[in-house]
Symmetry: C2
Subunit: 387 residues, 2 copies
Amino acid sequence: MWHGRTDRIQRPPIAAINALAADLRAEGRDLIDLGQAILGLPPPPAAMEAVRSYLETSEPHGYSPDPGLPEVRDRVAGFLRRHKGLAAAEASELLLTCGANQAFVNALLALTQPGDEIVLFGPYYFDHLFAIELGSCVPVEVGLRHDAGRFVLDWSALEAALTERTRCVVLVSPANPAGMVFRPDEVAKLCELCRRRGLWLISDETYDLLTFPPARHQSPATMGILDEVVVLGSFSKTFALAGWRIGYLYGPAELVEETIKVQDAIVVCAPVPAQLAAAAAVAHADEYCAHAVAELERRRDALLEGLAAVPQLTPIVPDGATFVMAAIDAPVSSVDFATTILREAGVVTVPGSAFGPSGEGYLRLSFGNQRGARLREAAGRLRTALC
Amino acid sequence: MWHGRTDRIQRPPIAAINALAADLRAEGRDLIDLGQAILGLPPPPAAMEAVRSYLETSEPHGYSPDPGLPEVRDRVAGFLRRHKGLAAAEASELLLTCGANQAFVNALLALTQPGDEIVLFGPYYFDHLFAIELGSCVPVEVGLRHDAGRFVLDWSALEAALTERTRCVVLVSPANPAGMVFRPDEVAKLCELCRRRGLWLISDETYDLLTFPPARHQSPATMGILDEVVVLGSFSKTFALAGWRIGYLYGPAELVEETIKVQDAIVVCAPVPAQLAAAAAVAHADEYCAHAVAELERRRDALLEGLAAVPQLTPIVPDGATFVMAAIDAPVSSVDFATTILREAGVVTVPGSAFGPSGEGYLRLSFGNQRGARLREAAGRLRTALC
């Protein structure tokens, strides 16, 4: 129709569900939004204070250097050293982006030629699929194995999927949509496999600091097994700065240099006030994340408690992030199920098929943006509508 | 080396020149920066006020809908109706982006398949070339014709360059780097040619309101000749919001819908505070742009006056935007010339070859970010160094 490559892409499913939700809201319906995976807390006050100072400068509000302001890169590198176990992280290995999605696009375009195959573990984060399609690469879905209430890597399926054209493997941990943190022994084995096969590992660590003890995320870049690791990070979730569009890419300095070409073509630089907000936020990582995790844990537990009374949904208990993936016990597609509960219970969720074929039969319910009482109400509404 | 498609791209030339400039500054040199094309004025106070209010909201700082906040799209559509002659512009035809570069990427990926040919008029804006390369399309440079101190479209060269694979023609007016506004009769003829050949016209209008009377920019989308027009706009220059990363794409609603897929994959949405800043800024377009144009005209004239005493540079008088393109009368490449004057005169410029083969033999000197006295000093330094 457009003759464009977007023909191969379905519209973002969150957008489609949100459009229906907007129609219902316009009719006066009270909806509970468990759709978008945001952290419903205000950002750290110091981050807002940093922007306030920027508003008052008399200097022109010009571009920063493509990879980011030098002092912000330094501060974020310090954050990686202290909070992510990347003991030798340097500013030169870091590029600030308009969120982790843009970091993925930068890495992908710098690492691939059209036609290269990119492994996604399913259920996968759909924006990765879109970016791969737009970059004229070939997405290869390798389904995760459901094992004792968790998703785990399926080694024989992975080995079988690799070809001469495979260039990268994408790992999202804590996982979106499944919420689990892959075990360190799984990640180490994946690093070894990548090294053996000459593959790059793109490690999306958007939810890295939002894990529920005893679960803890360890970046493959800290394991000393594989040099060809690109870490994608975000301040959207960890510091509740989603609207500001700020994240980063961390990897070998030579790759970072290469991604600057992509950066310049797409956005020139990350928004300068967002860079300043992030630099101020990371100085408060300990207390802010401790508060956020405690709050998220309460919200997760409220949702899980409520869902225990909904027989059609069997949740996977997440190790981190801001959502619960639940298996649907009903003879309908996940899109039909999500549409039904939106219409009948007024609860916004994301159908699992949005996350690829492996996500069919599941529903993703985000608890990050709702307080406990509202989450219990959502579960109650689901129970009433479904029973 | 990276096996990636970025191998085909030279690092952004502004970045290379800026790196040398940073080294010289570190040595204590006083440099005059005529490199980056920014408007060196503070943004409209109302824009900053809008952000200040956002900082104080207790709501989570979440994403906006992919195309932008509905009320911001409405306000920007009103701005297009009132200030750009797009009498019927609607919010549904508008998508807010992280600057005009990202708008270009969105349009390009929604309109093309890999291998499609895209016409750029040379000297061209280099980030367009990069985006075309990254999108696995084929850039086709059609040189502009130098005619009586202006660049004009070369119709026979254009006709000769079109093939079965040509998909889009990119027009930048006011032009970067040449600074002229293409004449309405040229643009109308280009629209007719696109219609006849079934091509899309991507019209980058970044500097639209920054023109020096009697020059005035008229968008091809107002001419009623061609429906297949995508307008790219920016608030970076017109409202001095470069650091905030905010621009837009305007086109047929069906195309805008299609570009949402690209938007979601790359950035999800434009930064929310930047959207609010832009919505507030456009309400003050008349007075702000009148002030900016008067100031820019003074700066342009100061630079041109100074350059009149530099025999090695013959400037093209710009109709708009924030830079002067000058022909180099010296037996060296534009890169060597720019490097020499950076080292010897401490003046940062951009070599014309950064804008493609047609730019060789020229230098771009931006006057937007320097006051008159400093521009005269820059010209004086050039004279001393070169004579």
